[in-house]
């Protein structure tokens, strides 16, 4: 039997076996009249090992014999075959995220005030882990609660250049799909203004802030 054929049988057998094979088991694959010497099997294994160099698999000798296994360099990619389907985020998480985006910097307590329910700490943790949100400081009130804000990753994920790319509440109101006519204050609805509006906007904002300060 040719060297090449011995190598082919050894390679195919190692791949098909689904378990490690030792040299004895490999030898047993051949009929007596064609059976290679042990040295030939070993040579085939050595050649095989060499042929795997620089590739995604490798020949490895373990306790019960030889096996072909996935190389560490591609293990992470290959592992994705078993990745579970991601679950969907809850409504509560999306609301929390939206409030952080629109009202940052904001504390958990403030989110709770608006949502009317407690914010599960897991939600904030999830948002922090996903690095869509980070703690940028503490509010100077009793308990010094964390101030949450969105990150650049958040903008990148949603393909936004800046938070200004998010629709204003006025725009949200106009969305047909958003349905219910929302109630707005009597102030003229200011769409996100361009540079020319800034001056006016500044004035109004400042005035309002002043007004609110008592």
């Amino acid at each position: 039997m040719s060297e090449q054929m011995v190598k082919n049988v050894v390679e195919a057998a190692l791949l098909a076996a689904g378990r490690p094979l030792d040299t004895e088991q490999l030898l047993a694959l051949f009929d007596e009249f064609e059976r290679p010497a042990l040295a030939e099997i070993e040579a085939a294994l050595a050649e095989l090992e060499q042929s795997f160099e620089g590739r995604g698999i490798e020949l490895k000798e373990v306790a019960t014999g030889f096996r072909i296994q996935v190389r560490d360099t591609v293990a992470l990619h290959v592992s994705r075959l078993w990745q579970e389907r991601p679950q969907k985020y809850t409504r509560a998480l999306l609301e929390t995220l939206a409030l952080i985006a629109y009202r940052q910097p904001i504390t958990r307590g403030e989110i709770e005030d608006i949502r009317g329910v407690q914010v599960n700490p897991n939600i904030v943790r999830t948002l922090l882990e996903r690095s869509w949100v980070r703690v940028i400081g503490h509010r100077d009130v009793p308990g010094r609660p964390e101030l949450l804000a969105t990150t650049r990753d958040f903008l990148d994920y949603f393909n936004l250049r800046s938070l200004d790319d998010l629709p204003s509440l006025a725009q949200l109101r106009d969305f047909e799909s958003l349905g219910v006519q929302l109630e707005f204050s009597d102030a003229p609805a200011a769409a996100p203004s361009e540079a020319s509006d800034v001056q006016e906007s500044l004035t109004i904002e400042t005035m309002q802030m002043t007004a609110e300060q008592e």
């Binding site: 698999i57 996935v70 992470l76 991601p86 910097p105 400081g137 799909s177 707005f184 904002e205 400042t206």
Partner: protein, 299 residues
């Protein structure tokens, strides 16, 4: 379709004791026409168990009929119905003698064969419309043909390379699965709808600043807080980036005002006309109003 079933049939091994002597005694069957017909191999000794296995191996009356026809190299399209019927009934008898569980279909077929045989014997008158009456065997021939093609197809499928018999899939061991958690995807619209909902629920549209403010101000507020995280004072001017133009400067300015208003920032001035300094609010009960006074005076 006219492959010899004996060659591919799983019965091949069993057919030998029965069929080999059969071919000798029944040789005249192939000629049929007018020739007297020999008895089927009644005297042939077959071990009862083997016979039972053999008879059980038929997949029904059509299979048995096909066997009888093929065994004598007869054409399915031209069946000597009387002879085949006789042979068929002999096998049925044999099955009954051996107390094989005989499916009702076998008896049904026997009746059908008998009926065809009797119709074949009757002279046929052309019908009034001139349509010729069909050969009584036509339906049987059609069924035999139909069955035989799927019988053949089954044999063909059996010969296909099959996983774990002819085909072995290569597998490499993945020693350590590095499972990373796939993160859920969110669309912007989902988030906006969630926001709309929460705002609606909170009925906070009376709160004008949510409605009015530019979100870049909010963003800038966050940025400023981050810059002041070290805790020290920063010169007021250093928070402005001139390159951002009037627009940027304005946004920064509003952000600073809002931060002060929310008590997140302190702005101090050592003296009138002295430079303004900014730092993050320190943990004490802040005198928010005083700070605000400062900034309003400064602006």
């Amino acid at each position: 379709m006219a492959t010899d079933p004996a060659s591919a049939s799983p019965l091949a091994a069993l057919e030998l004791p029965l069929a080999a002597p059969t071919r000798q005694t029944e040789a005249p069957f192939a000629m049929v026409d007018g020739e007297p017909v020999n008895e089927p191999p009644r005297d042939l000794y077959i071990p009862p168990q083997a016979l039972q296995v053999f008879l059980e191996a038929f997949e029904g009356p059509l299979d048995l009929l096909l066997y009888l026809i093929r065994r004598q190299n007869l054409n399915v399209l031209d069946i000597p119905i009387a002879e085949i019927t006789r042979q068929y009934l002999q096998y049925i008898d044999l099955m009954q003698e051996l107390e094989l569980e005989l499916a009702g279909e076998y008896l049904l077929m026997a009746a059908m064969l008998a009926e065809i045989k009797s119709r074949m014997l009757l002279p046929r008158a052309p019908s009034a419309e001139g349509d010729e009456e069909l050969d009584p065997r036509a339906e049987l021939v059609r069924r035999l043909q139909e069955y035989e093609r799927y019988k053949q197809a089954a044999e063909d499928i059996d010969k296909l390379p099959r996983l774990d018999r002819d085909v072995f899939v290569g597998q490499a061991e993945l020693v350590e699965k590095k499972i990373t958690l796939a993160l859920p995807e969110v669309t912007l619209q989902e988030m906006l709808l969630a926001f709309k909902d929460v705002i609606q629920r909170a009925a906070m549209f009376a709160s004008h600043h949510v409605q009015r403010e530019r979100l870049s101000v909010r963003q800038r507020m966050s940025e400023i807080i981050v810059r002041l995280q070290s805790g020290g004072f920063m010169a007021f001017e250093t928070l402005f980036v001139v390159e951002e133009g009037r627009m940027g400067v304005t946004v920064t300015f509003i952000a600073l005002l809002e931060l002060v208003r929310e008590g997140l920032l302190e702005i101090t001035q050592a003296d009138i006309f002295a430079p303004l300094h900014v730092r993050a609010a320190v943990p004490r009960v802040a005198e928010v109003a005083a700070n605000d006074d400062t900034i309003i005076a400064a602006s």
